[in-house]
């Protein structure tokens, strides 16, 4: 069965460096300045980790109207802000043909905490019916769907490290299969004190109990863990002919997508574990790329595994190793994968022949998206 071709026609991002459409992202990437700094929104006392890449509240407030801001949790505002920027960038309206796919790793834990605290402080009478719906991870998708009028499928995927990559891949699939004419797809996560503290306690964040200084240094000899960021990045994906027919400004084409699993125990990564014959391995076989973005974020388990998998699939001597990581600029968060795809689309728009956006996560999820100039 043939598939519809899928192009990127819009981009919206709200991250620690910038907020805006394709020009804003291109500017932040060209500047190449890291947004990682000391945590500002809470005091990370008793934490070995003290760094993060945070979105400025004033920036966020400027993107979502005051009424919505009062009603919505922070992570919903992040998702909504980026979705609105993306549909504006694509100059597209809602309707029965517009879908949405949201990827997130942690969802709205702030609301879960607030909801539980109500009970712990005041018993059943302290439970807020207003907060409860936010504890379900699809709340960001439902808020965004209402705001942009997306009535085609609205899907939320939960995934560590690769939430944004997987959401864009799934969104492209919905368009390719004819389930939606266009899909707003991307990822979101917020910096939440409780998650930050627990991950730091578990040694999941830099400096991971090592002696090297805290910091995000993907693929470096002294890498010692990821630094958390926050934000949302969404792409508008459209069926190519429909996009052309409505005169959309096409950025690039999502030429191929694949995702699979490398069987490994939960939360672990093993540089020796392989996935021969998996969808991603099949996609990469005998393919040439001009540039490669990776999910490496400074976590040695992820960095080493990604390098080993790509060395096998692209060749140990490939000039694309190690892949380009954007984690040092924006911090690790659920929107980062979509941001990588956005960066690849901008590369393709500038003429890069074929850009690979690759990812591997602890627990074994592996993704690959091939982005090419729109033909």
């Amino acid at each position: 069965m043939s598939h519809h071709r899928v192009v990127v026609t819009g981009l919206g991002t709200v991250n620690a460096s910038t907020a805006g459409g394709r020009e804003a992202l291109a500017g932040a990437l060209a500047l190449g300045r890291s947004a990682i700094g000391p945590v500002r929104t809470f005091a990370p006392t008793d934490c070995a980790s003290r760094l993060a890449a945070e979105v400025d509240e004033a920036t966020l407030a400027s993107l979502v109207d005051r009424d919505a801001a009062r009603r919505l949790s922070r992570i919903c505002r992040l998702a909504l802000g980026a979705c609105l920027l993306a549909v504006r960038d694509a100059d597209i309206a809602g309707g029965p043909g517009l879908g949405i796919v949201v990827g997130t790793e942690h969802g709205d834990f702030t609301s879960s905490r607030d909801f539980a605290q109500g009970y712990l402080r005041r018993g059943p009478g302290g439970l807020s019916p207003m907060i409860f719906p936010n504890t379900v991870m699809n709340t960001m998708a439902s808020v965004a769907a209402i705001a942009v009028g997306a009535k085609a499928p609205s899907v939320t995927v939960n995934q560590a490290t690769l939430a944004g990559d997987l959401a864009v891949a799934r969104g492209a699939r919905l368009v390719a299969d004819g389930r939606a004419a266009a899909v707003v797809a991307g990822g979101v996560d917020e910096l939440f004190e409780d998650v930050y503290r627990r991950l730091s306690q578990m040694g999941a964040l830099s400096p991971m109990r090592s002696r090297a200084p805290e910091g995000c240094r993907p693929f470096a000899a002294d890498h010692n863990g990821p630094v958390l960021g926050e934000g949302a990045t969404f792409l508008v994906l459209e069926e190519r002919e429909a996009a052309r027919a409505r005169g959309a400004r096409v950025v690039a084409e999502i030429a191929e997508t694949a995702w699979g699993n490398v069987p490994t125990p939960p939360h672990t990564g093993h540089a020796r574990r392989r996935d021969a014959g998996s969808p991603v391995a099949r996609l990469l076989r005998d393919r040439a790329f001009e540039r490669c973005y990776g999910a490496g974020n400074g976590d040695p388990a992820v960095d080493d595994w990604e390098r080993a998998l790509l060395a096998r699939d692209l060749g140990a001597g490939s000039s694309l190793l190690p892949p380009v990581s954007l984690a040092p600029l924006f911090g690790q968060h659920g929107g980062l994968g979509a941001l990588r795809v956005g960066a690849a689309a901008l590369d393709a728009e500038r003429g890069a022949a074929s850009v690979l956006v690759h990812g591997i996560a602890r627990g074994g999820c592996r993704t690959a998206l091939v982005v090419e100039p729109a033909g």
């Binding site: 029965p96 539980a116 409860f132 699809n138 995934q159 004819g178």
Partner: protein
């Protein structure tokens, strides 16, 4: 600003036929498809007083729990979260039922609808910590996310195909079946293990209590006096497969997966569209996807939660699609509760078994049918009926609507 128009529609070329070749269920009746079907066919309501959660001070104190002895006998390590244990047992049963082994099994996709993750265990830790009485290990938090089920199953079952955790509230399980079917239909993989799981959690129980959506007595979908739903827990998995692939390896089909529809209300975060607009479109899309007229459908396994709003909107939508009394309708939730993320796959399994057995499960506790529900909702007792095509509806918070269509296959050997 321009609208994207309608979806471009089905891509050209031959469309592979898809069958359901394996089923696995852990339900409030116990472990296994056999006990599930026995309970449904007998019309046994499994909604009872809650044992897992302190219910003091709450309006509703009942739920449909998987019996403790059944959980203990699942053969899954007690170190895993309750939800992981339910999921792993149901998934294993589905794979064994499908007879899927070797490379065909390894290449399978894995799509799991989930919401609560390992929250039940995470809550214990968090509550103890917050009250200054730390208990248990920080490790409990590692499996708190919904994605933990896919990680556990992907590893334990050795699957290398596409892996996804789909969170679409109460439509999660149905959505995982639909999205998995697209992967098979698109030739990405010949087989997919798809389904949903949720264990009871404090946050879910408390949340629906706070919303006043729980009936203090076992739920009564489509009843004039209905007062809300009853929550439950379960795991259910299907193996869906390219029909040619299934035939070539000597597999057997429970049913044919005929098509699906998936829409969003884009109306309200918790309430369904009052006229059931998104529900109507989901059912119409499913029929169009399958190339069937509404008259071909003989039975609808309704979302049927028992809440005044849902049942009213669903009845309106059913009337628009099938006409008054145009189809037989029942709600599995009246028997095993609303099993949240698992509900869509539990009810898909019920629908398939109904087609296979020529017996439609009843709506329990239904005494006075709501005059706004102009359908035969099969009160109390299962009804023999040879139905060729059946539809399973799942709707969720966020205005998520999924309708799945199944068609009867030739009898199994």
């Amino acid at each position: 600003m321009s609208r994207p128009g309608s979806p471009a529609g089905r891509p050209s070329g031959r469309r592979p036929d898809i069958v359901v070749s394996g089923l696995g269920v852990v339900s409030p009746y116990g472990a296994g498809v056999k006990s599930f079907w026995t309970g449904l066919a007998a019309g046994t309501c499994a909604i009872k007083p809650i044992t897992l959660i302190d219910t003091e001070g709450f309006r509703s104190r009942i739920a449909a729990e998987v019996p403790a002895e059944a959980v203990a006998a699942l053969g899954v390590s007690r170190r895993r979260s309750r939800a992981d244990r339910l999921a792993l047992a149901a998934a294993r049963e589905a794979l064994v039922d499908a007879g899927l082994e070797g490379p065909a099994r390894r290449r399978s996709a894995l799509l799991i609808g989930a919401v609560g993750g390992g929250m039940l265990e995470g809550e214990d830790w968090y509550w103890g910590e917050t009250r200054g009485r730390p208990s248990g290990s920080l490790r409990a938090l590692r499996s708190i996310l919904p994605l933990s089920h896919a990680e556990t199953l992907g590893w334990r079952l050795g699957l290398t195909g596409p892996k996804e955790t789909v969170v679409m509230a109460c439509a999660s399980g149905a959505a995982s079946i639909a999205l998995g079917a697209d992967l098979v239909r698109g030739g990405v993989t010949p087989t997919a293990l798809v389904g949903g799981v949720d264990a009871l959690t404090h946050i879910c129980f408390m949340g629906f209590n706070a919303l006043k959506l729980l009936d203090p007595t076992p739920c009564r979908p489509f009843d004039r006096d209905r007062r809300g739903m009853s929550i439950g827990e379960a795991a259910a998995f299907l193996v869906i497969e390219d029909a040619d692939h299934c035939r070539a390896r000597g597999g057997r089909a429970h049913a044919r997966f005929a098509g699906y529809g998936m829409t969003t209300d884009a109306h309200h975060v918790t309430a369904p569209h009052p006229e059931g607009e998104g529900m109507i479109h989901a059912m119409e899309q499913a029929l169009a996807d399958a190339g069937l007229a509404s008259s071909a459908v003989g039975y609808v396994n309704a979302h049927g939660t028992g809440t005044p709003q849902n049942d009213r909107a669903e009845a309106l939508a059913l009337r628009r699609v099938f006409g008054e009394g145009g189809v037989l309708v029942s709600s599995t939730k009246s028997l095993v509760g609303h099993t949240m993320a698992a509900a869509g796959s539990v009810e898909a399994a019920a629908t398939i078994l109904a087609l296979q057995h020529g017996l439609l499960p009843p709506t329990a506790n239904l005494e006075h049918v709501d005059p706004e529900v102009p359908f035969d909702c099969l009160p109390g007792t299962a009804r023999p009926a040879e139905v060729g095509v059946a539809l399973s509806n799942s709707f969720g918070f966020g205005g998520q609507n999924v309708s799945l269509l199944f068609e009867k296959s030739a009898p199994r050997d």
